[in-house]
Amino acid sequence: MTIQQLSVFLENKSGRLLEVTKVLAEHDINMSAFSIADSSDFGMLRMIVDKPEAAYTALKNNNFSVNITQVVGLVVPDTAGSLYNALEILKKDNIEVEYMYAFSFKDNATVIIRSANAEQTAAALKTAGFQTMD
């Protein structure tokens, strides 16, 4: 019901993102989604990859600060108002979203949702008939 997301702490200096992608490429790891959040001093790269454990080890061995978090990959039906409906469900269940980012996956749009409890979030969405990534 939930998927693993990698987060990497990056100092705001040039070339760091390049380094991360280089390490992933060298280990034959495919990235299907990512987002970068930044403050004035540092950035946070979050991504969904095909081999999270391998990516974690590879990045750690290359001195990156990295961790794995559980997130929900919500598959959003291609109809008007479907994201609104999903967020309504979460609001009703008092589930707070820390952040989210979207990407397209095969023919669907997918939204990665980070909340305090990924299992609970996924369950709430499933009960309401939404599809989540495994």
């Binding site: 987060s7 702490f9 990056l10 100092e11 001093d41 990156f64």
Partner: protein, 432 residues
């Protein structure tokens, strides 16, 4: 175990007597053999006969690091070169290097005091001691080497650096004692962790750490990471090298081998001796050394002295763990800042790595202190807000401790340079 009970547990009267006898002889020797001191005495209108005992110590002139530089290389030696059997040189980190010399008797005495230190830390002939201090001109490696042999323990003279080999020898030979700078010990601990070697997989039980000031928080960190009991050893090459003082099992200060080195605490500004327990600059007078005896040498280290008998039974005076060197002290907008204060804050928070660097700049005539702290992957959260919170808390805690505002920047792991010797904590970009 107490190596030399006769000395280490003797009465204060007996110690005073011993020190006074030694001091009188030493003053006489210096007056006749070292032109530098004779000239100083004459300038001060002081005769060797004016020094009757340690009660007259305060009448003697101070000796500064600069005096050794001015008389480079061997101008302050009190014996002819033919009597010198070993030479060492200081690193010269804060200026031109200085050279120190030892007679055979000096080396014997050095081994004796290091043997006392090691015994106080519970080291015996059953131990295997990995000496990861640099061997060579630096006094750390060779200084501890002969004392270790005197105790009868097995020495691994591996010297500093080559971390991979350090770990291998540690495991293959089953080192029970690690002797190095606390910075290097921390680096070795991290390297063990990286190599997937747990503390249970080593036989380490005692750490002898010195040559730079370190905090009790760092002690806890090293003890936890390496699975050993960590002891502070103190020394400086001008006075002799490591072994001037060392902690006993009570770890309630470092017992000074005061039958060879008389300690005093002075106010660094007024130069007046300070009473027992007050913090000031540590000053040493050697009383048995032959090669390079020094009067009232200004160490620049800050400490305090305690004369009450220690629970271990030793009566040797105890110096408090050094708070830092006056050389390492930064003056930021008129406030004294020691790197050790920042180390304490970080280690007490348990949320960052203990690696940090202080960067000082002057912008518009104002001193700016920025503290770089490495992220610890164990405490790394994936939310920007939590990292910003951590940054704020570090800033708040440091500001509370120092009483001045600072900038804090979290940096990626392993980006602050690791040290195989003394750590470089300060980058001061202000005009000197």
């Amino acid at each position: 175990m107490i190596w030399n009970e006769h000395i280490e547990c003797c009465s204060r009267d007996a110690m005073t007597q011993r020190q006074s006898d030694g001091l009188r002889k030493m003053v006489e020797r210096l007056y006749f053999n070292v032109p530098f001191y004779r000239k100083k005495f004459q300038e001060m209108d002081l005769s060797p006969h004016d020094i009757r005992g340690i009660e007259d110590l305060h009448k003697l002139p101070f000796t500064y690091k600069q005096d050794l530089r001015d008389n480079y290389p061997m101008g302050l030696f009190a014996v002819p070169q033919s009597e010198i059997v070993r030479l060492h040189a200081s690193s010269g980190t804060t200026g031109k290097q200085t050279v120190v010399g030892y007679t055979r008797k000096d080396l014997d005495m050095w081994s004796e005091v290091v043997a006392r230190c090691f015994s106080a830390a519970g080291i015996s002939k059953k131990d295997i001691v990995q000496i990861a201090y640099g061997y060579g001109l630096f006094t750390g490696g060779l200084g501890l080497h002969y004392g270790t042999e005197k105790v009868g323990a097995s020495v691994i003279p591996i010297s500093g650096g080559n971390t991979h080999r350090q770990l291998q020898m540690m495991q293959d030979l089953g080192s029970t004692v690690l002797a190095c700078t606390p910075s290097y010990a921390l680096y070795l601990a991290e390297s063990l962790e990286k190599a997937g070697i747990t503390r249970e997989q080593t036989k380490l039980r005692v750490g002898i750490f010195g040559a730079e000031a370190w905090t009790n928080e760092m002690r806890k960190e090293l003890e936890y990471k390496l699975g050993l009991k960590a002891f502070d050893i103190y020394g400086l090459s001008e006075i002799m090298g490591p072994g001037v003082a060392c902690e006993c099992e009570c770890q309630n200060g470092l017992h000074v081998n005061e039958d060879h080195f008389i300690p005093e605490i002075i106010d660094p500004l007024t130069l007046e001796p300070l009473p027992e327990g007050q913090v000031g600059e540590l000053v040493f007078t050697t009383i048995t050394k032959e090669g390079l005896p020094l009067l009232r040498y200004r160490t620049r280290d800050l400490s305090a002295l305690h004369y009450d008998t220690c629970s271990c039974g030793r009566t040797l005076v105890r110096m408090e763990k050094c708070k830092g060197r006056t050389d390492d002290m930064l003056i930021i907008r008129g406030v004294n800042v020691f790197p050790s204060q920042i180390e304490s804050v970080l280690l007490n928070m348990h949320e960052t790595s203990p690696h940090y660097q202080l960067i000082v700049d002057r912008v518009n005539n104002l001193d700016i202190l920025e503290v770089h702290v490495e992220m610890d992957e164990h405490f790394f959260a994936d939310e920007i807000r939590k990292i910003e919170d951590l940054n704020k808390r570090i800033k708040h805690n440091i500001e509370n401790t120092l009483g001045i505002s600072v900038g804090v920047k979290l940096v990626e792991p392993n980006t602050i340079e690791r040290s195989e010797g003394k750590a470089k904590r300060i980058i001061d970009n202000r005009k000197k």
